[in-house]
Symmetry: D3
Subunit: 173 residues, 6 copies
């Protein structure tokens, strides 16, 4: 059985990681869609699809060594919700079940006849990408403990803190 | 060191497979870009990005078991050659060297300061996706021996021969 | 003489209906443009163009039986206001007069040399699509009395209340 | 029961007209999709969507007087065949059966679970829009007898012969 | 040496003018990019690219007579910040240095290896296009003293005050 | 009076140059539109909009010294001929007369109420950008005498011959 999860992963954090590990215990293969692949260098979308791919990939290799069962796919947004399921369906390999807590995602995939499973296991508040970005913008250090080491390393390599601070100051002015 | 190869893989054939295996002997990781990801159900692009992802994935798993070192990324076309390198660069993880025999691809990546290596090792004529599609359209059987077993199995599952024959007859009329 | 009216009709309500009937008393034919045809499954745009087409069509058939004089045309948005009049003009049959209360629509069509008539006859406050959507989201029942019966029937068939509640909860989270 | 037919109608001719009349004898309502609505002033697509809407509309009014059962919808192309059925489905009211002789259209709608009926009743050769355009370009007069009177009147009003000759000479040079 | 400055110039004001004159004292040629060229008739983007081109052009001709050293280029937006530098680079003649006070513009061009110079010489508060638009919307007259005479003349010719008031009232309603 | 001329200028040649000089003798200002600004690195469109801008600019500066009367504007294509005049009109400053020998351009601008003048003065055959590109591709030298010196210098600087040969060999393979 093949599962699918969709996220922007701005950035990929420990909540995402434990969700992915849990899903991998339930399915044979897991498709991880990097949504909004065309967005980067924005306050809410600081990292490129390529950077996010590496964040996910390195975090999972650190945990699992062999990530053959994980199928990572960057997907650009379509503005048109009525086309979204068709867009995703032809972009990724076949899947049997969708993991999501987003009501619209659940609604659209159920309408298209897909099985949908809610994922109630990781604490939203602490492990929130939005919260992590806010910490980075405000210059606090404790975002590091909320993300896998591999992700912190990538953010350091690209000087992601400077980037997100720059981007968010431009958005304001 | 990380290499990158770009192709439409319509379909992924034995020439592609031996090229990928050769490159994996030279680099640490290999990015395989599925170009024209938005195209399908056309005479020259019969298969969806998702189907092509599975063709590549299953062929490599059959050969290698662990495909952790292979990074598959579907990429939609941009019409504008002047933006193409920038488009690919932000969509995929960082890479050091590009494998290509296409003069324009070589030209554009060299202009952007990337190392480019030609890949003179697989016979163009026999292992040509165009030739394989022509065989499928004309109803001959010998396309099967030109592609990995996993690819033939996927084409059978989706009844790809009927699809490509349908598509190409619509193009003509 | 041919008139034209533009709206998103999310949903088509009794105010729209009386406006259309009034205009049909003034012109030979009336073009009804379903604007933002590519939008659906959003808090402000819950219904597809096809659903809105049926809402308008069934409401008018219930009233008029023969709707030969009504020309319904879904039109996708163009972001670029400077192209909007040209976009509409080539998409719909020729028209002589535009009915609108929107200052920008009036401005753009007047600039293009079209006659524009304001439509001061239906009460904005009560018969407002925005108000109707808010009632549906908050779970109240009285939205039904603000729309034609045919529209309520379509909304029930597609379980539109669940859809708009789902969509608006996703927008918040 | 509701049927659907798709065409570019460049221009709408007598073959189209008899097909539509035949379908109206079989279904309750008929959706007529004007494909490639964004194309005009090209050799193969000389007429705007609005002009084509009027051609269809006036031809049917001349025949039927009341065209309440006919639902005309202009639809822009999507390049991506994998999204086409989803694009049409949300743009038009619900339908039960698709009339088409195009193998790809048949394939795509069957894959989406729709019933498809072939329409073997009007002679392709004589009543071909391509043939009619060639006659107009070459300056011959006999295109008039291949199209309904209402269509010829519209083409005269917009001086369509000059337009198609102009467009096709620009394509060549 | 060739410099470049990017702005939306909605409208071109005296602050812009003195900045351009200062830069022309430092470089051989100056590229002036009219950003968001596809936007007009919006509250924040009232003027078309063509109108803004004329505003810049006439203001500089009034000052300099010969504007051979000024290279004006309208550029449409790309939503995707990761492509923006590549988009600008192929659209305009080669340049050596970018003048900007926008942190994101500075960040992106520096990443691409361009020299960036901050322009700390014109008072942001008074000579702000946003402030000028607000004055025009509220019906005050003193916006005239903040813009070059040539710009005021163009705004009068196109009745720009009516336009921006119309547009901003439509945005509100 | 302001004139306008549209071309792709791939590359700008002596025929273009004499046409521009002739027009400048007839009008106060001349708008030169660089069409298909988004295309480059293709067999028929080898040069970027920025390179073409410099070709035109340097050729005219060499001839005229002061090019204040010349208004160069890169314009991206719109696929949709029905929107083309509206697209150009809002992108460039106002103009009174269009110089063109292209029947479709003439048709569209005349429909929009613009005066159109044919430009029968430069020999099409010899000074043809297509012919010049063919000479460059085939490795002959005599393309140099067909273009202004400034253009040849730019083509040498960017090694344009290698580029067009590369691009055209990729198109073939």
């Amino acid at each position: 059985m093949r599962g699918m999860i969709v996220g922007r992963f701005q950035p990929f954090h420990k909540g995402h990681l434990s969700a992915v590990k849990y899903m991998l215990s339930e399915v044979d293969d897991l498709i991880v869609i990097i949504a909004a692949s065309q967005q980067s260098h924005q306050k809410d979308n600081p990292f490129t699809a390529g950077e996010r791919y590496d964040m996910i990939r390195h975090s999972l290799v650190d945990e699992l060594k062999d990530i053959t069962r994980v199928i990572i796919v960057p997907a650009n947004d379509v503005k048109d919700n009525g086309l979204w399921v068709a867009h995703i369906t032809r972009l990724v390999p076949k899947f049997d079940v969708v993991y999501t807590n987003n009501p619209l995602t659940e609604y659209l995939f159920k309408q298209a006849g897909k099985e949908v499973i809610n994922t109630p296991f990781y604490e939203r508040k602490e492990y929130s990408a939005n919260h992590i970005r806010e910490l980075m913008i405000s210059g606090k250090k404790n975002w590091r403990q909320l993300i896998p080491k591999a992700v912190a390393k990538i953010i350091d390599e690209i000087d992601g803190v400077t980037r997100i601070q720059t981007v968010s100051s431009s958005d304001k002015s």
